[in-house]
Amino acid sequence: MAEYSIWILNFAEVPDAATSSLIFGRHNTGTQVLPYAYTLLKGHGKTILLDCGLNAESHGKAFVDKFNVQKWAHPRDVLGEVGVKPEDIDYVILTHAHFDHMGGLSLFPNATFLIQSEELAAWVKIMAMDRKFRWLMGATDPNDMMEAVQLAREGRMIGIDGDADDILPNIDVRVAPDTHTAHSQYIVIRNDGRAASEDNYVYTGDLVYRHDNLHGGNPQDPFYVPNGLSYGSNTKLLMVTDEIMKTVKRDIRRVLIPHDQGMADLYPSRMTKRGHYLVEVALAEGEASRL
């Protein structure tokens, strides 16, 4: 029986992101819909969010307005589809410090946030660099860092140092240094509660944008292709991709990718009235389906 109920919750999209930004080397091949999503876990008496999106009602509004992010919905509506309120979120595990994964800090008033310490340290270094290096800032908003400072003071922003097992019950984090960002992490959910799990999932953050990153468009003879934006090493990114695939015993369905709407085809899913997809990956004992 599953230890956690798991839902992938789409909350916004960019309708025409360049394909080359998602899959390395696919230049001049048009655009694709780029969905934004976070993943909700419910189990062991805890409600956990993997990444927290962005806040289009405050500092994220400029981003949404300027870059054609469409269909953004507040977490009270997105989480409401599965009977959860933002106030119910106990923990948010942040894969990395980019705007669309960490920009929703203020939306979850009772949550404690977990991120790699070195991810923040790297951003501190970048923020101290000369203006000529501002490309490295990418889409990181200083506002999020100020919010993080406040949360740290309140004891609600906690740094993790490297790989960690059972950071929450049956949830492990694994660091991916020098890949998409300086210290991105991916999250392993062992949903049978066993150390050598036969029922695990990996939430990738932005280490993987698309299933094509996992098989190169050739599932019969797969090869790894980096996504279109790594601040670190593409080679290291591919090594981490292999780690992820080994973790899930090469079962691609168990790789939970927030930016791939194809997840909705791999599991039972439905569209909400706001036009977002909701994917039901697993249901814990006693949990009713939200489809």
Binding site: D16, S21, A62, F67, L120, M127, P142, N143, M146
Partner: protein
């Protein structure tokens, strides 16, 4: 029409002169946010912090000098108001941070003026096109085609921070 032309020219001249001030304030705020993160969460006091603090101070001094030379036309008054407020608040925040890091018990908290200054920077950004608070040029999630269109293409410093 001639009056309109003079007005447009005045705004254009102001925008060109204000851009380095805005950029400097953005940099100072970003550095201060990083320094606060370092101090609060990473408990760091390493050499990078000192260098970054000195760089922030130097940039703020430059910004003050450039700001003093600005003459805001009426159309830019709203932007200028927020630019001026941000400049003052960043000075307050930097002084407070210096005090904190020097161990002064009486030092004020640098975070509130820093956050308030950032709100002014954001308000200034909204008041005038071409002054961006977050550089999305290489964002993984940016819509690059639209970005170039809305920012007026790759021509001109005023409308594109990367040129």
């Amino acid at each position: 029409m001639r009056g309109q032309g003079r007005s447009d020219e005045a705004v254009r001249a102001y925008v060109l002169a204000a851009q380095p001030v805005f950029d400097a304030l953005h940099e100072v705020a970003t550095r201060l946010a990083g320094l606060l993160m370092s101090a609060e969460m990473l408990k760091s006091r390493h050499v990078l912090d000192a260098e970054s603090r000195e760089a922030a101070r130097e940039r703020l001094i430059e910004a003050k000098a450039d700001h003093a030379r600005l003459r805001a036309p009426e159309l830019a008054a709203h932007f200028h108001h927020h630019l001026t407020a941000a400049l003052e608040k960043l000075g307050t925040a930097l002084d407070a941070l210096d005090g904190r890091l020097s161990g002064l018990l009486s030092a004020a908290d640098p975070l509130p003026p820093l956050r308030s200054a950032w709100k002014d920077i954001e308000a200034a950004s909204r008041a005038m096109p071409g002054f961006e608070t977050v550089d999305f040029q290489q964002s993984c999630c940016a819509l690059h085609g639209n970005l170039l269109r809305t920012n007026g293409g790759m021509d001109g410093r005023v409308f594109n921070l990367d040129t």
